[in-house]
Symmetry: C2
């Protein structure tokens, strides 16, 4: 996971024509790339992407017990995916009595969304 981007000078060419004229520069900073890749990685699983989709469309807090039957997965596995989304900062959670409610933190997706547009 090296993200140095040190812009080392082009390797010397032996004598032939250069492979391409213009030198290419990176446009995103390593820190940005790291943040956005973290978000993208968390969304890089169909289950998690659908979890985020359900939570976003619902515009409120959703109980885990509502999410589990949507997937053909064990409840601990769904919990695991929710944890990954929490660790990525994409969702937040809250306990109310016996139940746990999850909700999207929209600002987490903004940077990636802006970059993609």
């Amino acid at each position: 996971m090296s993200t140095a981007l040190e812009l080392t000078p082009k390797q010397k060419r032996p004598a032939g024509e250069p492979c391409c004229e213009p030198l290419v520069y990176p446009a995103v900073r390593p820190a940005e790339a790291e943040r956005m890749a973290r978000i993208a990685k968390a969304l890089g699983d169909p289950v998690r992407l659908q979890l985020v989709d359900v939570l976003r469309k619902h515009a409120g807090k959703v109980c885990v017990c509502e999410l589990v039957p949507l997937f053909d997965l064990s409840q601990p596995t769904v919990s695991h995916h929710l944890k990954r989304l929490r660790e990525a900062g994409i969702v937040g959670s809250e306990r109310q009595g016996l139940w746990a409610y999850y909700y999207v933190l929209p600002e987490a997706l903004e940077e990636l969304s802006a970059w993609l547009s």
Copy 2:
């Protein structure tokens, strides 16, 4: 990678109050989720995200020999990342003589971009 989303009926509740009233529905189809997760997964590495960024900003075909020195990685590793991007349909490549040129396929990012907005 189960993406069944079969909307199985809620499990029976023993007698107490239900955990939450409204039934939550998935908004993206499994096939969409699979496609977008594939794209997101490919972008889920800082090196690949920066590769895409460079290619996008450059708005043209970029030689691999330009990309390799941007990263503190071996040439085969960069080639591996480019291959993953190619397999995800995010970039295309073309050989011209000794050199290989890569370019972004913008339509590959559209669906994910739209979903994120």
